[in-house]
């Protein structure tokens, strides 16, 4: 404990230098501003802004890039709430209740609780990273392909709970998502699957393309559809910050979301994507009246947003303690550190102690800055909603197109997103939810790859999934979640049959 305090003191002494504080602030600010453009997620933001860190010394550069990362991530949640466009995978869940809150004139409250939840989660996750980085890494290393596959099965079981309406439709969308995830070059044989000979599909559909199409473009089409009400705000703006009752309601979800997100974030292979979904599923199960979920329940924003931020932070653990990036954003951070002459690895902690602890301390400072930056901005963002839609939608389309283009520098991606937009509009007309499709898409690929990898390693024996204790435990969890979700679900669906118009 004494050692931990000593290390944190070293970290804060590094992070509290005037220059590093300034860099953290600039990083958070720039990250928020760029990240708030629909479609521009953390990866695109960091890639674009990487060159501006070249002139800095390494610690400052990493602190600034980390700030850009949190800022961009947070910006993604802002667009999810305001215009129903998730900036990245982890913000998909936020669209469910966050955007519903905005439609009810509670956008400010949703943004506020997202900022507060993120800050609480960030503070806790910083402590986790500082205290437990090494033992947690050892645990994460025990997660092999079999465990991963079982975790994804559990994740899909959660997905069923996401359904706002019909469970059968949700399952159909999950399966469609899994099917779409198999488009592209097969990882093991190098053979192209379901690309129809169309070259831009050879690496599969990009998540940003799918999300922008099904959410962003489809949302614009839906709003322009004369037969429906304009979505954004047709009610007064209401209060800007969460009330005492809102906070009381959110405390539990924030705490639980933080724990779930922090744990999943540590896992290699992008376990963090599951965090918000798992948190949402958990809150919906715990709620006394799960019917409110999907119709603007504040718990459905507070929990996933906390999980999202906690995971963002703890996903630094494998990078800092092991030198192995768990996801694409962290891989980019490795490159950034390498360019600055620091090769991340197991020895960074001892050889480069000021950098290591400085970055950890700056995580907390970054979170504090995000709170300071974002609470005042809430009013500004909410006022954006009062901009007439005829001015707003061309801007949304323009920025979305720029965002999609920036991911792969590919014009074909923009056209595909437009096509998917029409599909998304049709699906919305037929009451199919896009969120389960996106989850199926993200999990499908991980699931297939880990299934095949686990079977290759076990020489084809399916027994591997139940013989390995962690894997067996996860399969059991999946079975329980599914049983619990499906049984009342069947009842609920019967009710809906009678209330449907």
């Amino acid at each position: 404990m004494g050692l931990l305090l000593e290390n944190l003191a070293l970290g804060f002494s590094v992070a509290f230098s005037m220059q590093n504080l300034g860099l953290a602030l600039v990083g958070c600010l720039v990250g928020t501003l760029v990240g708030v453009l629909p479609g521009v997620g953390p990866i695109a933001t960091i890639t674009m802004l990487l060159p501006i860190t070249f002139g800095l010394e390494p610690t400052g550069a990493i602190i600034m890039l980390a700030g850009i990362y949190y800022g961009a991530q947070y910006g993604g949640s802002t667009t999810a709430i305001l215009v129903n466009i998730p900036g990245e995978v982890t913000a998909v869940v936020t669209t469910l209740d966050g955007h519903q809150m905005a439609r009810q004139g509670r956008a400010g409250v949703a943004l506020g609780i997202a900022a507060i939840g993120s800050f609480a989660a960030g503070t806790f996750a910083t402590l986790v990273v500082a205290a437990l980085a090494v033992p947690l890494t050892r645990l994460a290393l025990r997660f092999g392909a079999a465990e991963y596959f079982s975790l994804m099965v559990a994740g899909l079981a959660f997905a069923v709970v996401l359904a706002r309406g019909s469970i059968v439709k949700a399952i159909a969308m999950i399966l469609t998502g899994i099917l779409l995830s198999t488009v592209g070059t097969d990882l093991e044989t190098g053979v192209e699957r379901m690309t129809l000979g169309f070259a831009p599909l050879s690496d599969g559909l990009d998540f940003a393309v799918l999300a922008m199409g099904l959410f962003g473009f489809a949302e614009v089409l839906r709003n322009l559809d004369a037969s429906q009400h304009r979505d954004a705000v047709d009610r007064p703006i209401g209060r800007l910050l969460p009330s005492r009752a809102d906070l009381a309601r959110s405390a539990g979800p924030i705490a639980r979301g933080t724990l779930v997100g922090a744990f999943l974030g540590i896992l290699p292979g992008n376990g963090a994507v599951l965090g918000p979904f798992a948190s949402y599923a958990l809150e919906k199960r715990l709620a006394r009246d799960p019917g409110r979920f999907g119709h603007g329940a504040i718990e459905g924003v507070a929990g996933p947003e906390s999980a999202n931020n906690a995971g963002a932070q703890t996903s630094f653990v494998p990078l800092l303690s092991l030198g192995i990036p768990p996801n694409a954003v962290m891989a980019l951070m490795v490159g950034a550190m390498t360019i600055h002459g620091i090769v991340p690895g197991p020895l960074v902690m001892t050889r480069n102690a000021p950098l290591f602890w400085g970055v950890i301390a700056s995580m907390w400072i970054g979170n504090l800055m995000l709170l300071v930056i974002n609470l005042p901005l809430v009013g500004l963002w909410v006022r954006l909603l009062t901009v007439p839609y005829r001015l707003m939608f061309p801007a949304i389309l323009l920025f979305s197109s720029i965002g999609i283009y920036s991911v792969n520098n590919s014009a074909a991606d923009v056209l595909m997103a437009a096509g998917l937009g029409v599909a998304g509009w049709a699906l919305a007309k037929l009451d199919f939810e896009p969120a389960p499709l996106l989850l199926g898409y993200v999990l499908g690929r991980l699931m297939e790859e880990n299934l095949r990898r686990a079977l290759a390693l076990a020489r084809g024996s399916l027994g591997t999934f139940v013989q390995r204790p962690i894997s067996a435990g996860l399969i059991l969890v999946a079975a329980i979640v599914l049983a619990a979700a499906l049984l009342p679900g069947v009842r609920r669906r019967r009710d809906e049959v009678f209330t449907a118009d």
């Binding site: 690496d203 030198g323 192995i324 690895g345 197991p346 792969n408 520098n409 390693l457």
Partner: protein, 332 residues
């Protein structure tokens, strides 16, 4: 006092000046190259080994040329997406690309319907830096040196698992070469990128892999994985304790993930010469070359730094990988 005429005259003069300005530099255009920023297409994601080499080299070249070289990452299909886009760009010297062992060596063998020819569709500029390949295994692998490793893999290969980052990747092709030399038939386990593969190697879930030194240095230094040999004629300063394949008794295993600059076919020779001079200046600059070697970069192949030398390298690499990947190891 001010009749229309002088204004018209002034306008005409202005227009003429503008026309002159447009037409003026036409004759000495080549001497003036480059007069605007140059795009360097890096066919892999930002942060990877090729991207890092490209950015370090481009930074120094920008200073020599007096124009910014802007790195544009166009990833996809093992780098061939970005290279194809570069090959189809106007050959004016304002779009160049960083090719590598995969895109300009192994690609024709990996992708049967590749839409470019690594030899015919490019004007070579010069080799930038290679990253040596290292043979590594999980830390408790039952072999203490390369000789024992070779003997063990030959005897037990069907029980072993080899990790790689997908068909066409450096780890895939270079280990296919190793396996074909040893006559080994391990189970080849595919990962999405080197990071996850390395993760499972550190955890001991897989037995061995081949990869670029820059990805492996920290793990080898920390003892979380074991390095058997570096596939270079001389030891790498990044891992001075790791013997070469020649010292270890497998001299045929010579392979480097080289990175080299290319311009689209038809780029004027004066332009590629200018770019080559700037590239050489970067590689000879002590600070820049130190940054590259600190990362494990290999600057020993000086012959391929000339356009003619690079052309020869590409020809020999295409032939080599065609043979290796047809022999076996391809993911069939």
């Amino acid at each position: 006092m001010r009749p229309a005429l002088p204004i018209l005259a002034a306008r005409a003069l202005g227009a003429a000046a503008a026309l002159l300005a447009l037409a003026g530099p036409a004759a000495p255009a080549r001497a003036a190259y480059p007069e605007r920023p140059i795009t360097l297409i890096v066919p892999f994601a930002a942060g990877g080994p090729t991207d890092v080499v490209s950015r370090i080299v481009a930074e120094h070249m920008s200073r020599t040329l007096g124009q910014q070289i802007v790195v544009e990452n166009v990833a996809g299909a093992g780098g061939t997406t970005g290279i194809l886009r570069g090959a189809q760009s106007p050959p004016d010297g304002y779009t160049i690309m960083m090719g590598h062992m995969g895109t300009h060596g192994a690609a024709p063998a990996v992708y049967p319907d590749l839409k470019y020819d690594p030899v015919k569709d490019f004007e070579p500029i010069g080799l930038a830096a290679g990253t040596p390949i290292v043979i590594v295994a999980r830390k408790d692998f039952p072999a203490k040196d390369l000789k024992e490793f070779v003997a063990y893999v030959k005897a037990n290969s069907e029980k072993l698992n080899e990790a790689h980052a997908g068909p066409g990747s450096v780890s895939f092709t270079t280990c296919a070469f190793l396996n074909s030399l040893l006559g080994a038939k391990p189970t080849r386990v595919a990962y999405r990128g080197t990071g996850p593969a390395l993760n499972d190697l550190v955890a001991g879930q897989v037995d061995y892999m081949c990869d670029q030194i820059v990805n492996l240095v920290p793990q080898v230094q920390a003892g979380t994985i074991r390095a058997y040999a570096v596939a270079l004629p001389q030891r790498s300063p990044a891992l001075p304790d790791v013997p070469t394949t020649k010292e270890g008794g497998l001299p045929e295993y010579q392979v480097s993930a080289w990175n080299a600059m290319f311009a689209p076919k038809g780029t004027p020779p004066a332009v590629t010469r200018r770019l080559n001079e700037a590239l050489l200046a970067a590689l000879e600059d002590p600070a820049t070359s130190k940054r590259l070697t600190d990362l494990g970069g290999d600057l020993s192949n000086k012959e391929a730094r000339t356009p003619a030398g690079l052309r020869k390298l590409v020809e020999s690499e295409v032939a080599r990988w065609k043979k290796v990947l047809a022999d076996g190891g391809a993911a069939k």
